[in-house]
Structure formats: structure tokens, C-alpha cells
Amino acid sequence: MAPNPELEQAIDTVISKTEDSLLSELAGSGEECKKTLDASVAGLELEYDRILADGRKEADKIEKQLVGGADLAARNKELMALEDAVNRVFADALAKIAAEDHSALMGSLLDEATKTLGTTEVVVSTNKKSRDMVKSALSKFPGAQMSKENIECLGGIIAKSKDGSMAFDNTIDARIGRIKPLIRKEIASKFGVGI
């Protein structure tokens, strides 16, 4: 087939125009992509910072939670150990008190009880061991009488008005119970706590 210069020129023109148009479109797209990318950099950086900040916040929160929890757990164990030690001191002290002779104390315990109740017309109870001591001390309190039944205690007495409406517990157990909360700190300080 013989060459057709006009057709070829037309084809060249179309190709060249298409090429120009494509190149310019590509350049435009490239520029647009660049613009979009440039614009998204700031947004991405912000997002990146936000994610990092959130992560840090979360890490701080978890750290606080772990440290706080561990601190408390350690402190609670220390409290339990201390309480155990304080209770052992009390138990030892009570055993020593129980073994002691309280005869000299009975008079003053009775005196305190009758004064508190405002009458010597009382029925007095004590433990088996102290019964004789209390009996001999009762002679100083007119109207006072000994209860037929014994009570369980380390020592001391319970005085009850004869009509049964009032009672005063002056046993050693009750007295220790009253002062125990007050002296716990002193005992704890012997273990080096709260000094």
C-alpha cells in the first residue's frame, strides 16, 4: 500500500494533541496529588500527635493504676502484719495479767463500781479464782452481796443493782477493752510505726 502523507500527518497531529492533553492532565493530577498530600501532612501530623498523646495518656493512666494498686497492696499487707503483732502483744499482756494476784485491786474496783452506780446495794459477780478476795472486800460496802454464779473473766467484778436495772462492768477484760484503742498507737510505735 502506497504511503499516505496526509493521513500520517493527521495521525501525528492526533497523537501529539492527545499526548499534550495527557501530559497536561498528568501534570495537573500530579500537582493536585501533591497539593492533597501537602494538605494532608498537617492533618496527619495532628492525627499522629493526637494518637501519641492519647497513647501517653493511656500509659500514664495504666502506670498510675499499677503503681497506686501496688502501693496500696503493700500498705495493706503492712497493716495486717502490724495488727497481728499488736494483737500478739495484747495476748501476751493478758496472759501475764491473768496470772497476777489481783487481791489488792478488788477494793478499788468495787469502790469505783458502787460510786458509778450511786449505791452500795449491789450484787457482785466475779470469776472463780477471785471469789474469796471479793467476798472479803465486800464487808466495806453495806448492802452489797455476792452473786451465786461465777463469770468468765481475767479478773475484776461486775456490779449490778439489786433490782437488776443497772450494771457496771469493772472486769479487767472490760477495762482493757476500753483502753485498747487508745494504746494501740503506742504499741505500734514500738515496732517503728507512726513515730
Binding site: 493512666k61 493504676q65 503503681v67 497506686g68 495488727e83 458509778t116 450494771a167 494501740r184 498507737k185 507512726g194
Partner: protein, 448 residues
Amino acid sequence: MGGIQYSKIAEIKGPLVIVDEVENAAFDELVEVETTDGEKRLGKVLEVGNGKAIVQVFEGTTGLSISGTNAKFVGKVMEMPVSKEVLGRVFDGLGRPKDGLPDPIADKFIDINGEPMNPEQREYPKDFIQTGVSVIDGMMTLVRGQKLPIFSGSGMSHNLLAAQIARQASVVGTGDDFAVVFAAIGVQYSEAEYFRRSLEESGALKRSVLFLNTADDPAIERIITPRVALTVAEYLAFELGMHVLVILTDMTNYAEALREISAAREEVPGRKGYPGYLYTDLSTVYERAGKLNGRKGSVTQVPILSMPSDDITHPIPDLTGYITEGQVVLGRDLFRKGVYPPINILMSLSRLMKDGIGEGSTREDHSEVSNQVYDAYSRAQEVRALAGIVGKAGLTEIDLKYMDVGDTFENEFIEETLEILWNIVSKLPKSEITKIKDKYIDQYYKGK
């Protein structure tokens, strides 16, 4: 001298036990009531005279009978053992350990009724306390030593807010120690657990003390709960120099307990059956907030109360409002819209805010931008009402901008406080910003 045990019980009436043939009992004296099976309950003397003593039993009188019940008058008022060790501990409504640990080793035993603060010794509160809740910090700032109640309604998110404040609150710009004393009064078990877990999980428990009186605990215990909490707070603040935030929720349950005792005592009822001395009684709780001259610490109170039927004229919020220094009101409409925290700023106010904000405390523009937002939000409400009648199409361009301000305020005001306030006012043209100095507008305005 105390310690006498009486066994003549004349009557048991509601939460009260009337003991006969009593001599030398004192008002407010602590009483140990022993049941027939040896169980011991605590109470206090409400009235003495004619050989009788009226004893209010904190743990209720269920199971008590006239015969076989003994009442031992201890000879002292109710005291709370206090020391720094109470931090991180959980107690019940009467101040007894609830966390399985022993009683704290006490430095002191303090009367739970507290000592009234000498008015002459009171220092005017003026230092900012950050709650971490933007709308409170920005629009109704809490100040150390202030008492700022939250008025809520049944079912609203006040407990969530209370726990958030307890977790996040701090004092800014000072190295002083900060502590939170949280007293839950008559709350559900799940709520009490939520408070405890929330503080534990955020690591805030070690600087907190929790007092939990749950709904199934005896109602009368609720009279004591805020008092033991405040006793601990006062010790931490004025003896140990800490800044203490006390959150009391829900004071309505406290007032209900007061009403129960008043009814049992056959007192002449006041409004809605509450005793006539409700105001005086509430003030003995609320007035235990403040700062003292020459002392480092402070006690700040955020009592929370749920208003029955959302009625702000109900005696409890009404009388509370007389005593406290402002109020934060939660709005039912905002709550229904899902806004958190649903604080209605138009009804809320912190009367001491002006002294705790501005240059040196928060930022120099705080007061003005806050006022501008308040003003714009108020206009937004009017515009919304107008739109309800004429429709959005009938609104002017500036009206629509105010509506936008209202929506943005409700939806976005939860992050960085002042910046968000500026974002909100910057939706308005500069000509509408009339409450802020030009120099702050030039510096912070974000509009075009």
C-alpha cells in the same frame, strides 16, 4: 463516769429506744445497745430528762425487744479514729473498716460533730481547684474552701460526675498534698461498687478515703456518714495541711433519714414532713467547709442531692441553696439529649468563682470569655424558643449563629476548657462579642 448499763427499756419506737431510770446521761452520749443474743449496736442520746433517755440506734431497732435489751452509756460522744493511714481505706457509714483491714492506728480520736470554725479565723476562699470537668472549671469554677452543691434528679448522671470529679480533681500550681473524702449516703450497692472500682482503677484510691453507706444499710446510719467523713477531712486539712475535697452523695437520703427520726420523735413537721430544724441541721454539715487563717489546708465540699421530681423549690435544694456558695444544676433536657455532663449553666452559679480565676490563677481572659459564653448560650435558648414558633427559616443570620453557639456548647464543651470557650464565641462575629476586652479578642478570637 460512763459505762453504766441499763436494762429498763420503756419503749422502742421506730429507730428510737427509750431507756428508763437513767441517771447522768449526757446529750449526744454514745450508747451501746446489746440485744438478747449479744449483738451490739451503736446509738446516741437525743434527749434526757425525767429519768428517761431517748436513744437513736444507728443500726436500726429491728429484732430488739423491751425485755432482754440492755443499753450501755459509754460516757463519751461518738469519735472517729484518725491518722494519715485512713487514706486509701474504705469505711462503712459509721466509720468502721469495710475493706477487711483492721481499724486504723489512730493518732487522735475526734468528736464526729466537729468543732465550729471560728468565723474570725476563717480565710476567704480564693484559690482555684481543678475538677477536670470543663464546664465546671470554665463556667462555675470551684474554689478551695468553697461548698458548691450539685442539684440533680433521679436517674441522672450525678454519680458518674461525682466519680469523675473524685478521680480527676487536683490543685494546680502548688505542691501541696491533695486528698478526696468520698461519702456515699444511701446509694445502691452497684453504685458503691462503681465508686470504689473507679477510684481503684484510676489509682486515685491511695489519696482518697471512702465512706460507703448503701441503700440497704440502716437509714439512721446516714445521719452519721457525712459527719464521720467531714471529721476525717478536717483532720487531713487542718492537722496534716492537705487540700481536701469532700464529695457527699446523696444528701437527699440524709434528709430522708432526718425526717424518719423526726417522725419517730413525733415532732411537729415542717415543709413536706421534714423537721423544722432541717436548715440548721444541714448547715452543721455544709458549714464544715472552709480555710482557716494560718493553716495550710482547706476543706472543699461538693454535696450532691437529687431533687425529688426535679423540683428545685423542694425543701432540700431550697435550704441547701441558702447555705452553700452557688450550685451546679443538672438539666433533664440535656440529659435526655445525651449531653454529658448535663449541666444547665443558666441555672448554675459559683458565687466565689470571681475570686478564684483570672491572671495568676487560671488565665486573664477567663472571666470575660465565660461571661460571653453565658450570654451567648442564654441568647441561644431564646432563639431556640423562637425557632419553635416561626421555624428556622424565619430566623435571621445572626440568630442562626446563636443557635450554632448553643449546639456547639452542648456538644463540644468537654475538652480543653478555655480554648473551647473561645471556639464557641468565635462562631459569632466580633461585633457581637461585647463582654470581652479588645486585646483578648485580638489575642484569642478564632473566627475569620
